[in-house]
């Protein structure tokens, strides 16, 4: 029944898409909302998955990968037709992942098993399982693709893993419950958010040490509500955006001084962030208000919020073909 419905809906939307598209996973809604990035209209909803969380796209923008946590799978979709493609093995309870800059392989954090699973997206084979700390979560990859970073939430470390040997080459201690890892485009800095610690550690990947800790303070917001999760760095490497969870704000950080320049009020419990393909906009998933906020990155203003599905978690935007 479900297969038939899927095939039917795929056939209906097979017309070529023109504008950029935004894909949002709805953790509670068991769906992916697809928005037209120009009109910000919801143009499609992909269903048939359980507890989708992490989401990413292939470098060419043709494939969408979704961590379907309760299916214990990575589901794969055609970004133009929304047709479901063969799934990838993920190990149990996949939450977040990162693609190698070349588009292959995929590095997946398995929270339950204290491992990072490495999967070839073409052959759909597991290439390696790397033991890491307790509750692996955040995944980042260096721009040159040589190092993949995993953060483990209960071990409070960033594990730097060699992508050819699949071995940990360094462990860097950060603050409590690290959630996300993001390199600057030049590969010279690695940012790791700590949700409970309330900081973003700035790591020098060469020296493999924390050179600065970014802290946050918002008048009228209790310090314990300032919980950094998603982090994104602009293509020119000058600014980082940090989602502050239940503080309902995104911090704008100047990466030359590491100072917070602004706090942008978005929806409730903001977790993950993604840039538009041209970098002009940043999209935020607001889990407790069931919407995404759109930030204009030139003026650093929030322009609009758009309803999506229930409890949006992850977001990715792809270019039109």
């Amino acid at each position: 029944m479900r297969m038939a419905a899927l095939a039917c809906s795929a056939a209906l939307v097979a017309a070529p898409a023109l504008a950029d598209r935004i894909f949002v996973t709805n953790e509670k809604g068991n769906s992916v909302t697809v928005l037209d990035a120009a009109s910000l209209e919801v143009i499609h909803t992909i269903e048939g998955m359980q507890r989708p969380r992490g989401i990413t796209a292939s470098p060419d923008g043709r494939h969408i990968y979704v961590c379907a946590s309760d299916d214990n799978l990575v589901r794969v979709y055609d970004a133009a037709t929304y047709e479901e493609l063969p799934s990838l093995p993920s190990g149990p309870d996949p939450e977040l992942f990162v693609l190698h800059p070349s588009g292959n392989p995929l590095y997946i954090a398995n929270e339950d098993d204290n491992i990072v699973t490495v999967v070839d997206v073409n052959t759909r084979q597991v290439l390696a399982e790397v033991p890491v700390g307790v509750e692996p979560e955040g995944m980042g990859v260096s721009p040159d693709g040589r190092i993949v970073v995993n953060t483990s939430e209960t071990t409070n470390m960033a594990h730097l893993i060699d992508t050819t040997s699949f071995e940990i080459v360094e462990n860097v201690l950060v603050d409590s419950r690290p959630r996300f890892a993001e390199y600057t485009p030049d590969g010279k800095l690695l940012l790791v958010s700590a949700e409970i610690g309330g900081t973003v550690s700035v790591i020098d990947p060469e020296k493999q040490e924390v050179i600065h800790k970014i802290t946050f303070a918002v008048q009228g917001v209790l310090p314990e509500a300032l919980q950094p999760v998603g982090v994104r760095v602009t293509a020119d490497g000058t600014k980082a955006y940090v989602a502050l969870g239940p503080a309902n704000r995104v911090a704008v950080v100047d990466l030359s001084s590491f100072e917070v320049k602004d706090y942008l009020l978005v929806g409730q419990r903001v977790w993950q962030l993604a840039f538009s393909p041209d970098g002009a906009f940043l999209y935020t998933t607001n889990g407790n208000s069931n919407d995404i906020s759109v930030i204009d990155t030139a003026s650093d203003t929030v322009t609009v919020s758009v309803q999506v599905g229930e409890q949006p978690w992850g977001v990715v935007a792809v270019k039109s073909e």
Binding site: D93, N171, G197, L222
Partner: protein, 393 residues
């Protein structure tokens, strides 16, 4: 009877080329549980498992060891079952062996005695007793509490009921001293958050077996009669630490009213249903390791050992005085699946923590409720705050 577990799991699997090779440091802890003979619980589902608390120790030690594998640290935890007669000898043995971190699962009086025996030789972490007296007049400088206090638990429930506008309470307390202490905590919570206790009754424990074949036949007739003719109330609050009657209240009250406290909507530090803030990961790890769901005591022991592990990670050297000072400092915080950092109150050694409000198979809510504000930490809306403390440490 004791058991030694040495956890360095994962050590051989992990490869580090770090030049900063920390010297191997061993952290020794013990969990001492006092099993006193007592009546059976009303429900056979509430029979305590044989490894109560110790299963939390196994997981806490393993979690510490995984991190320790990267840090050059090993963690050894001894688990000890004692009776009220043997507990002091067991404690003496641990102190003589130089174990500096001792987690206790004991009643309030025993916990104080053990803390006094430890003196400046060991830090004692109470993972069981909820008594407010342990955080008040009977507090000790070397005694920390990972179990929430009665005041925290009752404040957590009170906040929710007041948020719900269920402010008229019918309080039923048991006849044991611990029930009366819990009832006193509910009276305090009612005053603090603006609820009114419209009626109080004491359910006398007349002894006898807690469970009998077809015992429900009599209960069905007794409980409605016991609860009839109460003034108008929104909710029945049960203060039954001894576990004599509360489980029988829901669906047996004279008036059709919800039950909260020791039955119905129950404030607890942990529930095997809790999934928020990564809680699922604790549950699956625990259940894989222990083969059963986690109890409050398991979570509280896990938390106590993670306090040691977290301090070891941050201070590295292993020196007892450095560890102890760090744990008590404002530098210390712990992530424990409750959505925010947990820290110790410097005035009474209590771990600040959100409290789960558990309704059967789900977590119905988590307090503090966001509408109750505080000038320092919202978590300090739960329990005894700095200006009210009777603790002189």
């Amino acid at each position: 009877m004791y058991h030694l577990s040495r956890a360095a799991a994962g050590l051989c699997l992990l490869i580090s080329t770090s030049p900063a090779a920390w010297a191997d440091v061993e952290y020794r802890a013990a969990v001492i549980r006092v099993d006193a003979p007592g009546p059976m619980p009303i429900s056979r589902l509430d029979l305590p498992p044989a490894d109560l608390g110790f299963a939390g120790a196994t997981l806490g030690t393993a979690d510490n060891a995984t991190t320790g594998g990267f840090m050059g640290q090993t963690f050894v935890t001894e688990t000890v079952v004692a009776s009220p007669e043997t507990v002091e000898a067991e404690m003496q043995r641990l102190l003589d062996a130089g174990v500096p971190y001792i987690v206790t699962l004991a009643d309030a009086a025993t916990t104080v005695r053990l803390a006094d025996m430890a003196g400046d030789r060991a830090l004692v972490l109470n993972a069981k007793a909820t008594d407010d007296s342990l955080r008040g007049t009977d507090c000790r400088a070397n005694l920390l509490h990972t179990a929430p206090s009665d005041a925290m638990l009752t404040d957590a429930l009170a906040q929710y009921l007041v948020w719900k506008r269920w402010t008229n309470w019918f309080l039923i307390e048991g006849s044991h001293p611990e029930d009366q202490a819990l009832a006193a905590a509910y009276r305090r919570a009612a005053v603090k958050f603006g609820a009114t206790i419209v009626e109080e009754r004491v359910y006398e424990d007349t002894g006898g077996a807690r469970r009998t074949d077809s015992g429900h036949v009599q209960v069905q007739k007794q409980m409605p009669v016991f609860t009839q003719s109460a003034p108008a109330h929104d909710v029945v609050i049960a203060a039954d630490r001894a576990g004599v009657f509360a489980a029988w209240l829901p669906f047996h009250t004279w008036d059709a009213r919800p039950v909260a406290g020791s039955a119905g909507l129950i404030p607890e530090s942990w529930s095997p249903a809790h999934e928020a803030w990564g809680g699922t990961q604790f549950q699956t790890r625990f259940e894989k390791s222990a083969g059963r769901p986690a109890w409050d005591e398991d979570f509280q022991v896990w938390t106590a050992l993670r306090v040691i592990g977290e301090a070891a990670t941050r201070t590295k050297g292993g020196d007892y005085a450095v560890m102890r000072n760090f744990i008590l400092s404002d530098q210390f915080d712990l992530a424990a699946f409750k959505g925010q950092k947990l820290t110790f109150r410097d005035w009474d050694g209590q771990l600040r923590q959100p409290v789960l409000l558990v309704a059967g198979n789900v977590v119905a809510s988590v307090s503090p409720q966001e509408e109750f504000l505080h000038q320092v930490s919202q978590l300090d809306t739960l329990g005894i705050d700095r200006p009210e403390t009777e603790c002189k440490r």
